[in-house]
Amino acid sequence: MKPPRFRYYAPHSLEEALAVLAETADEAKPLAGGQSLIPMLNMRLARPSLLIDLNGLHELSGIELDSGAIVVRAMTRHRTVERSPLVAEHAPLLAEAIRWVGHLPIRTRGTVGGSVAHADPAAELPGVLVALDGTVQLTSQRGQRLVPAQDFFVDLLTTAAEPDELVTEVRFPFLPARTGTAWLEVARRHGDYALVGVGAVVSLAEDFTTITEARLSFIGVGGRPVRARLAESALRGQPVAAETWRAAAATVRGEIDPAGDIHASAEYRRYVAGVLAERALALAAERAREGARR
């Protein structure tokens, strides 16, 4: 369990990192928090001949507000997000979900850009990003582009990023008024990858009794985060009521198509996804009301 041989390079600026990556993209891997890449090296599942260490690039870390979104730069650690008052205020779904990412020592090193680039189908951050209709900023020597989360996550460990591109920022849009969110998941132990997780976003009409918009984003039920589009459209215009959430759970179970593995069977995942949807929708609606009272 030792990494294979590789060359190591620590660039001093993003510009330099992009120049090196442009030359070496077919043999190199960027190293962020290393919490997924180094296990893969130790198990020899990855054999890059060059590691480009992004940890010295201070311009790649930080959290700020920018035109309707909270922007988290790629090398921002999970732990920094967890402690950020800006995130707690403007992206409560992210704040709630991040505590489920691994364990404390994993979050100390793991980064937002690394989680998104790695695209594990049970990872929380991709699920949050898809729930909030966020975007990923990709940068290469060829230029910069913004990719909507829906298009960025392609499949298991596969994204729209080209080998010479770095994830440089992740944008989580602000929520509309009268909106509440909730993140719930089932894992064997706190900090293990989720068997199933869900992010719910519920917006209410001015009377606070009717749903104007609802979103459900699941992790662990497919190769990438899955939106329950049928349930979402059925929820529009419905009253805030227990029967509404129960009906949504049934729709969710009908529309998702999870796979079974050694951790959980497909039937179990399908059932639990419904339970979590029901609870998360109720909680998100409750929070939308509470938010108005505050």
């Binding site: 190591y8 296990p39 130790n42 404390l104 090193r109």
Partner: protein, 164 residues
């Protein structure tokens, strides 16, 4: 273009207050650097893929898996291992004393990782609940104790540290 990067590098690190300068292979894990190069075998290695927590050390004061860091990444940083916990040969750290008195270990394989993650956790949460302690050590596996006495030891350590 000549190949970018090198397979070896010279690093400078401070471990338990002692500065070291060594040339290391780029692929050397920090856990192996501590154990094989510096002889600090108190840091244990269980799984080498981040799951067991036995190798937990403090990196600039924060808990990390030393099996998921390269030694070259420690260049310019400050590391603390279990060997640095006790204030002197004759005295134990309150965490060590609590683990001893409350039987927070059996074989001891997980102990150094438990102590290091708890040191960082208690610094931020001087008065934790049992629930918070269980979450804090959720990334550290123990195959002997069933965790009960570890949790009790952690609560007791918190109490000792508040008193001093």
């Amino acid at each position: 273009m000549t190949a970018v990067g090198t397979e070896h590098r010279v690093i400078r690190v401070v471990v338990n207050g002692v500065p070291y300068e060594r040339e290391v292979e780029a692929r050397l894990l920090l856990s192996d650097f501590l154990r094989h190069e510096l002889g600090l075998t108190g840091t244990h290695v269980g799984c080498e893929h981040g799951v067991c927590g036995a190798c937990t050390v403090l990196f600039d004061g924060e808990p990390v898996r030393s099996c998921l860091l390269l030694a070259v990444q420690a260049d310019g940083h400050v590391i603390e291992t279990v060997e640095g916990l006790a204030p002197s040969e004759a005295e134990l750290h309150p965490l060590q004393r609590a683990f001893w008195e409350k039987h927070g270990l059996q074989c001891g394989y997980c102990t150094s990782g438990m102590l290091m993650v708890l040191k960082a956790f208690l610094a931020e949460h001087p008065n934790p609940t049992e629930e918070e302690i269980r979450e804090a050590i959720s990334g550290n596996l123990c195959r002997c104790t069933g965790y009960q006495n570890i949790v009790e030891a952690a609560l007791y350590a918190a109490q000792l540290m508040r008193q001093s």
